[in-house]
């Protein structure tokens, strides 16, 4: 088995020597990966980068197609009229060769970055429609805009590589540890990099994940194209591209002899979480204290969906006293506990009902929940809390997938300002030679009704939505949760709140912008089927609720849940919704009790 592969017997086989950084042998299909472009916008790309940019566009189209398929399956078509027609049109748009060629032409001839080319071509088409005197035809401009956003999002999410499948081997100039973790989430088989050494953090992560990795393959790697059959031999430090049948056979045997390092590490014994009719649901954990991380480690859910940093960072009673270094370490811990699903970290949400942490002046406000809190505080004095926290997050993002979540967003201007500050801090870190990863998704909490109502407009600004139903309910129902005289009126299953959730889900689905629900309602057994029926596919709940929510998801059929959602949206108060939801849960899941058993045949 030790003999080297035969000299190229066909003109095509290519053997490249490098350094094995993580052991194992895999056969797969080459996936060429380019690290995400720096966040700074560029006016033009270098002439020799045109091919890479064209490939980035092609990858984005593929990713967008896959995202569209997923959204289509989950689309609450029973609730949103015409949703299916719009998805159908978007699928045709992604295959519109005339338009794609016009975009490619701008990249080739004008050296425009792909994003700018997409915008230029599509906005020209959009303007034609916006000029129409016919109101119905003008709505086509909205459909084009949703498509444009989906494509731009897919371009931005270069690193997420959703079209990687279980046969892919990533081929890249270089990979960070967090790149590798992100790709592994898509079942990456192995990796090869032109640069890098065997002692890098990336190598350590590859070993831990059992992903064979070859580093230092050098410039020869440029001869490997996307889609090529490749063998990665992490034991011998060798890559074979387009192997001859005999070579491939030899390696196939070797790979079969060795126990598959990845097979041993499959996740939770129960496998991925699905509804009875097979729709995948992502279930994450909400975390507020460092002590909550430990119980997650043995069997992490699909990551941390909400890490509240207020108490998590509080060293001696005040989050403001926590310095940047301490924050980097705290986030590193969270990433490690979150595993492949990554961690969504919410920026400090001070103010509101957290009255004790407020200064005397702020305590005098009549309605603190309507006052200076969340992003409002952060943006008032960005140097104090916002900039250090963003720097720490950019630095920690090297260690694994992070997502940044903004609390209490009301206006688009707020999001734009945070993005600008994030860019500035990334630039400053680069200037100072501080390692970090600027490729970090930025999401917004949906808590303020204004935000939910304007969700379609926000899909252009944010990379994901996270619906905080506790505050959203308080604002929609005009009920202060801290006021015990009215607190009982606070119920997120109010049809008005559900209607806003649907609005956000619809906006997200139409443009490929992920939506998750992280409020208490996500852990409420009666509410889960309603949320699934509204088209929500990602829930984040307090760790103690994880098992019950898993059980209820596994016992719920998506189609039946859709009927339930349509039904409760017609109700006129939360009690009516609760009654119907309870009855639904009883009929559909009662055979052995909702909280005690997993049954695959809930319909009796």
């Amino acid at each position: 088995m030790e003999e080297p592969p035969p000299e190229s017997t066909s003109a095509d086989e290519l053997v490249i020597e490098g350094t094995g950084a993580a052991p194992g042998v895999v056969l797969g299909t080459a996936y060429r990966y380019e690290a995400a472009a720096p966040t700074a916008r560029r006016d033009a790309i270098a002439p020799d980068a045109v091919d890479a940019e064209l490939e980035r566009l092609a990858n984005a189209v593929q990713r967008a197609e896959q995202g569209l398929e997923a959204d289509r399956v989950w689309a609450p078509d029973a609730l949103v009229p015409d949703a299916d027609a719009i998805f159908e049109a978007q699928a045709l748009m992604l295959g519109d060769e005339d338009v794609l060629e016009a975009i490619r032409q701008r990249i080739r001839d004008a050296n425009e970055p792909a994003g700018a080319a997409v915008q230029a071509v599509l906005s020209a088409h959009r303007e034609r429609l916006e000029d129409s005197e016919d109101a119905h035809l003008r709505t086509g401009a909205d459909d084009l805009l949703a498509f444009e956003r989906r494509l731009l999002r897919a371009l931005r999410r270069g690193a997420a590589a959703a079209h990687i499948d279980g046969h892919s081997v990533v081929v890249a100039q270089d990979l960070t540890a967090s790149d590798l973790l992100r790709l592994r989430r898509h079942n990456l088989l192995g990796g090869v990099t032109a640069r890098g050494g065997p002692t890098s953090h990336t190598a350590i992560v590859a070993q831990a994940l059992g992903v064979p990795l070859l580093v230092g393959a050098g410039e020869a790697l440029a001869a490997v194209s996307a889609g090529d059959r490749v063998v990665v031999d992490g034991d011998e430090g060798r890559l074979i591209a387009r192997p001859d049948p005999s070579t491939e056979e030899e390696y196939r045997k070797r790979a079969a002899d060795a126990p598959s390092p990845t097979a041993e590490r499959e996740r939770a014994p129960e496998g991925p979480l699905r509804t009875t009719d097979g729709h995948a649901v992502t279930l994450r954990a909400n975390v507020g204290l460092e002590a909550e991380l430990d119980p997650l480690r043995p069997a992490p859910p699909d990551g941390i969906g909400l890490l509240r940093t207020e108490l998590f960072l509080r060293a001696d009673g005040d989050p403001r006293s926590v310095d940047e270094e301490r924050q980097v370490e705290a986030y590193r811990q969270a990433i490690e506990a979150a595993g492949e699903g990554g961690a969504t970290i919410r920026l400090l949400d001070v103010g509101g009902d957290d009255r004790r942490s407020q200064g005397a002046a702020e305590a005098h406000e009549g309605h603190p929940v309507l006052g200076r809190r969340g992003l409002r505080v952060l943006l008032d004095r960005p140097d104090e809390l916002l900039r250090p926290q963003l720097r720490a997050l950019l630095r920690a993002n090297r260690e694994g997938p992070l997502r940044i979540l903004l609390p209490m967003v009301t206006d688009g201007a707020e999001v734009r300002r945070v993005r600008r500050i994030l860019d500035e801090e990334s630039t400053r870190l680069t200037e100072n030679g501080v390692p970090h990863d600027a490729n970090v998704p930025l999401g917004a909490m949906v808590e303020v009704p204004a935000m939910a109502l304007q969700a379609p407009a926000f899909t252009e600004l944010v990379d994901f939505f996270s619906i905080g139903t506790n505050d959203l309910t308080q604002y929609v129902l005009a009920v202060d949760r801290a006021d015990e005289q009215v607190a009982a009126r606070h119920d997120a299953l109010h049809p008005a709140v559900l209607g806003l959730i649907l609005r956000v889900v619809e906006a997200g689905r139409m443009s490929g912008c992920p939506v998750e629900v992280c409020g208490e309602i996500a852990g409420d057994v009666q509410a889960v089927p309603v949320l699934l029926g509204l088209g929500v596919d990602t829930l984040s709940v307090a760790p103690p609720s994880l098992p019950a929510v898993r059980r209820i998801v596994r016992a719920t059929g998506y189609d039946a849940a859709k009927d339930l959602a349509r039904d409760v949206l017609q109700a006129d108060d939360a009690q009516a919704v609760r009654r119907r939801a309870r009855a639904w849960v009883d009929t559909h899941l009662s055979s052995s009790g909702t909280a005690s058993s997993t049954t695959n045949t809930p319909d009796r």
């Binding site: 015409d82 027609a85 719009i86 159908e88 049109a89 045709l92 748009m93 519109d96 060769e97 005339d98 338009v99 599509l122 088409h125 034609r128 429609l129 000029d131 129409s132 005197e133 016919d134 119905h136 035809l137 709505t139 086509g140 459909d143 084009l144």
Partner: protein, 89 residues
């Protein structure tokens, strides 16, 4: 080459959904399909192109079909217009 006049009959015009139907039908044929409105001509297999015709109810377009199966293609597409794309007339 076949050239025919077609008229938009459905009330909502050639909006996103009918545009998709048209492109799906045109794409089933080998023949090249073009639609012309005044001096603006688009590829009948490009959904974004068809949408940008912004053809409202009552608008008249020129359908141009060229290729081996042009007769079948022209008939199939003409039928969509005649039926108002299955929408309210």
């Amino acid at each position: 080459m076949i050239e025919r006049e077609v008229t938009i009959r459905n009330r909502a015009g050639l909006h996103t959904r009918p545009a998709s139907m048209l492109v799906k039908t045109a794409s089933q044929f080998e023949a090249e399909v073009y639609l012309r409105r005044d001096n603006y001509e688009i590829n009948g297999k490009s959904v974004i192109g068809v949408m940008t015709l912004a053809a409202e109810q009552g608008a008249t377009l020129t359908l141009v079909v060229e290729g081996a199966d042009e007769a079948e293609a022209a008939d199939a597409i003409e039928a969509l217009f005649a039926d108002g794309f299955g929408e309210e007339l």
